[in-house]
Subunit: 663 residues, 2 copies
């Protein structure tokens, strides 16, 4: 938890800036003063009891410098009590993970002396964010200086300021030293090794680390498939009838890897202390609005929005809109097939090298159009979901994910399903799959890594040139004020949504149709290796540091991948049933063939569900640790009740000391 | 909580006998004395702090009277603290359900004065059972008088005595007054009304009440289907091609009723306070044995049994045995078809009235054989599961339910599936279904209600005759000692397993094939109405009172019914696809028909799963109540932490009173 310039506060303790608050340039002075005093107020008075300092002026690299930037930190004692508030799990002396409590602090493994390096900086920043988020209005009716911006007792001040645009952003600061070390072990080192997941978690929090863990796991899980695919390619096993074996492998593979991922993810989450951590009570999301009323749960006054109205919006606007988009996507697909047909006729009339290339052009154009449609739809889905006015962030996320997933699935795979099952043209399917996969990978890598890198680089160069002009750059380190202002200008990382979505689509390509084009697993493995590097680079160099997110699993994505694996079983069975190889077994009756295919498919689906039940989601050794913890807390509760009873007895009868009771 | 003869204890407080302990006739005296003293010992010394009295001699109705019968009761204060121990939920002043605590007792709705009628007798008996079960060995190495019966520190004494046969049984006493009242409102009243579920729960506990609630719910859910079935029957819509509409109805019906049952069951469980009650830490089941070792969870010494060994037993013995039984069942089915064929040829050769009846004979014999095989298999499954040596009761139950379910499903439905899909003979299917259903219902009612009733009646008559001989029966009430001895001789109720199993099979008959024989729903409704009466009678008059079981749902049976409803969707779709009506739409290509059937089936299955997600398992108003409770406990925790912090501060600095802190 070291930073470049720990300044010394008036009270004598060192102030380490952790989080930056940026208010609008034209924020009213009384509002700023009120906010700062609320943040500094002791907790008994309903404040957050944090330390705040205004950021000094920079060396003037930016054209227009915002003076309303504040650095937030906290005393060590405050951070520790905050860690208890947020229910942080840390490693105990006996190697198990336990909820941190101040009264028990010396029994935690890494707690030495005053607990100086006990909490990682990411944890401190998370605690500060939590404390700021739960800073609640008391008897103020509105934000001082803004009579329009009403406040309701017990509601979060920061969320209100954010949604009204008075507060522009809150973000945690990078640690340059740590970051350099992390970059080195993560993607700069040449030698082959696993990602430093623990370090990633240490720096970015559990949500990020789980994503990178999943990316790595998924890539490794693809390796056997890629190897088999390579063998198919090298030994020319590629006549299209031979894909039965591959399809069988697919069906088992996609069930197994998801089950094993659940176990692996549970191990990770246990070691990171998020597995058994309780979820905090969820507050309304910042954008939520409605008529003032009483929350039936908390009994507090807050904006309410009738559920019936939301349902109307969902079913009368969002649902038709999604269906319309699906129709549009089908329409575009039909245009693609017309182009395909046209290219084929041109090639058939006069087959040259150029017409051979022309054959791929429609697929490439279609792949690009798909990507563009995905992006446009994504924006529309975000707008619509925002407009549906969900009260909780989790409900907002679920509706957004659902909308985006359905469309992306349809948009990317509809043409492949059409080719496979309506046209039954395996050669075209293969060609189309290859073009889609390769084009979308190239586009993605470009959009995701190269573009932001290039933009960032251009901006940095400009800045450094400016800096050179002003003063000689002898000390490589930028001054803190400048560093903070640079970070404030970096792009904001928007979460793991797009990253998971990309993996979801790749998983689809591989699990649904890879038996037709065995090289697809190889392509995805190659893509994912570069993806790890580009994502790592993005996280370290392009984006502001995100607040850590104490996730215990990959959430709704696990469900999405499982749904895809069910579809994969059905698709692969259908492909098997359609293969000439299998058809040869039922020479006289196609009906028999279909019935057998359906029966086997049902058997496989049943087997899949039974497997899901049979394989425990949490590995045995972690289950034991968890139940040991539960057992101990039950025992402790019993003892505590006994102890408190003794206290009460002593207090009631003796009015004296109860130390005799604590044997 | 009134009983016939509340005797006055030496200490002056009234002693109400609640639970009976029966030890073997030849139990060693020192063992009995030790057990009684352990039960009477105060809790500080590791005892149960309960009241125990030896049962006086009866009037000598039995040939051989066991003197080792003891009545267990408890003081009111002890019962209340026990209620806190077991985590009992009671209605709070504000109408919500909360965990009972002694310190807060006056805020609970029905707590008046000393809390005399606050706990129902069933709750008191449950508390006493819990306290007896958790009476643990201290430093004793063996049961006094039985050097072979080892004791391990911290392990339950009662379970040890039970598994060694020193303790024969523990059972709660009936309340004659209450029971009479319950009988009257439950099954003796003539007017049509719902079952008094709250009274049933009050007397028998939540597990029983949930079963009867399910029985009633399921019967009502069947009524629309029965009505449609009757219409089909009355208006002769019964040509076998018309079942498409009925099958469609089936598919939707079986999904909906299960989802709605979940919601209804959650309402019931909430009102009975079991929905949010935490599960207690599960102790090993009495029959569990193994080599002494250290439990990795509790760290205590106890018998351990390697999981690998258990898995070997399951996969190398139990699984082959189950498969063998399934094969046998198939073999019997084939014999049935031979008999069927033989009867048909006899009838075809010379069709008379008697050969017409002969047609039904094979089905009836087969139905009886099925029931007998089910019973034999049940015993074998219990033996095998016992031998698998599961550590926890829940794991034992799950394995037993799985074994029994698979075999019963196969045994009852294999012939129907064979007729429907291999022979494709709808007339035979209909006849077979009707015979199976009617025969098994008659057999069940006989075995379940009439037989035990008759046995019980014979025994009672004998007793009363004896009693008449000894003394004039002027006072109708039997003396307590005699009453207890009578109850000890009653059959033991073995739980709801068989009752749920029967409903599961009936659900199967209705949901799988009722479109072929629409009257089956009518038959099941009629059966269930008599089932309610006969089960109620059984519970009240034939069996010992069972200990109440605080269930929050119907557990593994919900899963079983849902699996059946998935199979029902598949079966009904297949039946639709086979109907001549539908076949007429695809005159030239049977392949098209099958493909469409499969596609629609997949669509319905997907729809079913989506519906399961969309319909919340807990009704909204209960969800709000639950989250309000959670919110309040979070707030209370915060306040408590603050309060305790204050206490600590005051203690540390002022060594004085902290009342100033409690504002």
């Amino acid at each position: 938890m070291k930073l470049q310039e720990p300044s010394v506060e008036s009270s004598g303790s060192t102030f380490t800036p952790l989080v930056v608050l940026e208010l609008t340039l034209d924020a009213k002075e009384e509002a700023v003063a009120w906010l700062l005093s609320r943040i500094r107020d002791p907790q008994q008075n309903g404040g957050a009891e944090l330390l705040v300092e205004q950021l000094g002026p920079g060396v003037g690299l930016q054209e227009k410098e915002n003076p309303n930037m504040f650095l937030v930190g906290a005393s060590r004692q405050r951070l520790l009590s905050g860690a208890e508030d947020v229910g942080l799990f840390k490693e105990f002396n006996d190697g198990s993970m336990r909820g941190f409590t101040c009264s028990n602090k010396h029994n935690f493994k890494d707690f030495q002396g005053d607990g100086d390096n006990f909490l990682s900086m990411a944890e401190c920043q998370y605690i500060i964010k939590h404390e700021l988020d739960t800073l609640r209005a008391k008897d103020e009716t509105h934000v001082p200086g803004y009579t329009q911006t009403k406040l309701y007792p017990g509601k979060s001040i920061i969320r209100r300021l954010l949604s009204k645009g008075i507060l522009i952003q809150i973000f945690p600061l990078h640690e340059n030293e740590e970051l350099k070390r992390l970059c080195f072990t993560w993607y700069k080192k040449v030698k082959l090794s696993l990602q430093p997941l623990d370090d990633i978690r240490h720096y970015y929090g559990e949500g990020q680390a789980l994503y990178f863990g999943f990316l790595e796991y998924f890539t490794f899980a693809l390796v056997p498939m890629a190897l088999i695919g390579l063998l198919y390619y090298l030994f020319d096993w590629e006549d299209y009838d031979k894909y039965v074996v591959f399809a069988m492998f697919n069906v088992i593979w996609c069930t197994l890897i998801l089950e094993l991922w659940k176990r692996f993810s549970a191990s990770l989450a246990y070691n990171w202390g998020t597995l058994s951590r309780k979820k905090a009570f969820e507050e309304p999301r910042p954008g939520f609005h409605g008529v003032l009323g009483f929350n039936p749960v908390t009994g507090r006054q807050e904006p309410l929005y009738p559920n019936a109205k939301r349902q109307l919006r969902i079913y009368l606007v969002s649902l038709p809109f999604v269906l319309l988009c699906l129709y549009l996507s089908l329409y575009v697909m039909m245009i693609y097939f017309q182009m395909e047909g046209w290219a084929l006729t041109v090639h058939d009339e006069d087959p040259t090298f150029w017409t051979g290339i022309l054959l791929f052009i429609p697929s490439i154009i279609y792949a690009i159009v798909i990507e563009i449609m995905n992006i446009i739809y994504r924006c529309a889905a975000e707008f619509l979901t925002e407009w549906e006015n969900h009260r909780l962030e989790s409900s907002y996320q679920n509706h957004l994910v659902l909308k985006v997933l359905i469309f992306n699935f349809f948009n990317c795979f509809a043409s492949l399903f059409y080719i496979a099952f309506i046209m039954q043209d395996m050669v075209l399917l293969r060609q189309s799959l290859a073009t889609l996969l390769i084009t979308s990978q190239i586009l993605n890598q470009f959009m995701e890594a190269f573009l932001p890198y290039w933009l960032q680089r251009r901006r940095n160069k400009k800045l450094i040139r400016k800096l050179r002009k002003r003063r000689t750059l002898e000390d490589k380190e930028l001054p803190l004020a400048e560093q903070v202002r640079l970070e404030a200008d970096m792009s904001t990382y928007l979460g793991t949504f797009d990253d998971y979505l990309e993996q979801f689509l790749l998983f689809g390509y591989v699990s649904l149709f890879s038996c037709v084009y065995p090289l697809s697993a190889v392509l995805v493995v190659l893509n994912n290796i570069t993806e790890i590097y580009s994502d790592a680079f993005k996280m370290c160099r392009v984006f502001k540091r995100p607040f850590s997110d104490p996730a215990a699993n990959i959430g709704v994505w696990q469900l999405a991948f499982e749904a895809m694996s069910v579809i994969a079983v059905v698709t692969n069975c259908a492909l098997i049933g359609m293969s000439p190889q299998v058809k040869a077994y039922f020479p006289e009756s196609e009906m028999q063939l279909i019935l057998w295919t359906v029966a086997i498919e049902h058997g496989l689906l049943a087997f899949k569900f039974i497997l899901t039940f049979l394989i425990p989601d949490v590995p045995k050794h972690i289950q034991i640790k968890l139940s040991r913890l539960e057992f101990e807390s039950l025992e402790a509760l019993k003892k505590k009740v006994h102890f408190m009873f003794c206290v009460w007895m002593e207090e009631s009868f003796n009015f004296g000391w109860y130390h005799s009771c604590v044997v």
